[in-house]
Structures are given as structure tokens and as C-alpha cells.
Symmetry: C2
Subunit: 132 residues, 2 copies
DNA sequence: CTTATTAATGTTATATTATTACACAATGTT
DNA sequence: AACATTGTGTAATAATATAACATTAATAAG
């Protein structure tokens, strides 16, 4: 059983909002949307984001400077993440594929290096945008 | 044979500098170091970077907002990139592994989505930092 | 060669993303 | 209680990146 972190007030406010919007969202957009909850400054958002990333509740989409809720309780607390990103509509989905994560984990091992995590981002067109 | 792009003046200046430093470097650091060559504004650097990324001469390390020269003429013009990043000394190396790129390419195909590229970043400790 | 088109440049201003610094409060441990 | 750890509030600022506009250079047709 994974350790269940107790979130602080600001962390919970930020997580609630990210889970609600259910798509990648940027820090300053979060800020604007949680100001009614009493969060006033960027740093309050960034501190909450840091913690939420650390405990694996959310991930950062590095190529987009955006944050998204984890959809995959088995992604080993943010240490092994993979996403597909549509370059047309910017839709992002988290990839949950056991074979892929096993392959990448074993790749790390073979390389003889002490990797703790990885992040993989695929770019292209989602199904909807492929049709157009 | 791959198409050989002719670089513009600014593109060449920026590429020369990135190839010379031979490690990931940030846009504003590039700017400071090429001002003696006549490049005065951030935008001149960013425009050159955009083009160099597009033609695969350099890659962006997304998690670090830094740029590095491509060491791997076979990485298919920036469409399939993989890096290992040391979280201690920030050393970055480009991974060139045929099996890995084939695996990820086939993964894309199986997913039935039209992906054009991917970027993979492994994080951990390099050999030097593992010993310490 | 002339015209049209595209790509690159120069410059200023501004937008966006993220961190430093410092004072203080809440929480958990011994 | 004393201490350590974590979280908060606030202001200022740093770092990263783009918008807008005028101009020039390079390519490609006709
Ligand atoms: Zn996840
Ligand atoms: Zn799409
Ligand atoms: Zn490369
Ligand atoms: Zn290292």
C-alpha cells in the first residue's frame, strides 16, 4: 500500500482545481482560477505544484510548461511517465502501458546507469485531428 | 543522403557556439556569448534556435530549457530524441540506441496514432556522480 | 532582368514562467 | 517544552520566450 500523503490547504486547493479541469493547465492559469480560494501569489501555486509533482499526484508536461493530474496510479509516483501530445489541438493523454515501462526500465538497467525516472513525450496528431 | 541546409549568418553563429561548448546551454547564455558577433537581442537567438531545432542540428532539453548540439546524425532530424540527464552535475548525453528507437517507433505504430516524433529524458546519476 | 514570394534580420517592447529572500505559523518528534 | 520540518504570506525580481512592425536578403518564376 502506498503512503497516503496528507495535503496542506494550498496543495489541496491546487490539486482539486487540476483534477477538475482534467487537462494540462499552466501555473498562472491555476493562479487566476484559485484566487477566490485565497491563493494570491505565484509562489503559493509553484510550491503546491512542486509538492504534488513530488508525490506523483500530478505531472509536468515539460514541453508545454503545463501540469496535469495523474491518471495512472501505477506510474510509480511520477518516476516513469509517458504522454502523447497532439500538436494540433494540444490534447494530452497519459500513456499507461506495462510493456513500455518495463522496456524502458530494463533499458536503464542495461545502460548501467542509476536512473531514477524518465519522461517520454510523443508528438503528433490525435485521432480527431488526423481525420480533418 | 540528407539534405544539407545552408545556414544563415545568425544561425551559423549560434550553431558554432553551441557546438563549441558541447554541453546544454541556455538561450540567454548563448546571447551573452555571441554578442561580440553582432547578435544583440533574444529574438535573434530564439529564431536561430527554432530553425536549428527544426533541421535537427540541435535539440532542446525540455526539462532544462537548454539546447545541445546533435551528436547523432541518425536521430532522424530531431524526430526521435533520447537523453540521459544527471540530476547532480546536470551532465546530459544523447542516447543513440537503434533498438530503443525501433521499439518506440513500433510502439507509436501499434497505438494507431500518427506520431511524428518523440522525446525521452532519463534522469538519475551519471557514473561520476554515482561513485561520490 | 523584373516581379513576386519566401526567409531572415533588426529593434523595441512586452508576455510568460519561475525563483530569491525573508518573516512567520503550523505540525510532528523527542 | 524544545527542536526540527514543513508550509504560508508577501514583495521583489530573475529567467525564459514571444508579439509587432519595419526592413533586407535570397529564391523562384515569368
Ligand atoms: Zn501518472
Ligand atoms: Zn488533436
Ligand atoms: Zn540528435
Ligand atoms: Zn553527474
Amino acid at each position: 500500500m502506498l503512503k497516503q500523503e496528507t495535503l496542506s490547504k494550498n496543495q489541496q486547493i491546487v490539486l482539486d482545481y487540476i483534477e477538475k479541469v482534467n487537462e494540462p493547465i499552466k501555473a498562472y492559469s491555476i493562479l487566476h482560477n484559485v484566487q477566490k480560494k485565497g491563493i494570491k501569489a505565484p509562489l503559493q501555486v509553484y510550491r503546491a505544484l512542486d509538492k504534488l509533482v513530488e508525490i506523483g499526484k500530478i505531472h509536468k508536461i515539460e514541453s508545454r510548461n503545463a501540469f496535469v493530474a495523474c491518471k495512472n496510479s501505477s506510474c510509480q509516483l511520477s518516476k516513469a511517465t509517458a504522454f502523447s501530445i497532439c500538436e494540433s489541438c494540444e490534447e494530452v493523454s497519459e500513456i499507461s502501458d506495462n510493456k513500455l515501462s518495463k522496456y524502458l526500465k530494463s533499458f536503464q538497467d542495461k545502460a548501467g546507469m542509476k536512473f531514477k525516472k524518465y519522461n517520454l513525450e510523443f508528438f503528433g496528431l490525435c485521432k480527431k485531428c488526423s481525420i480533418k
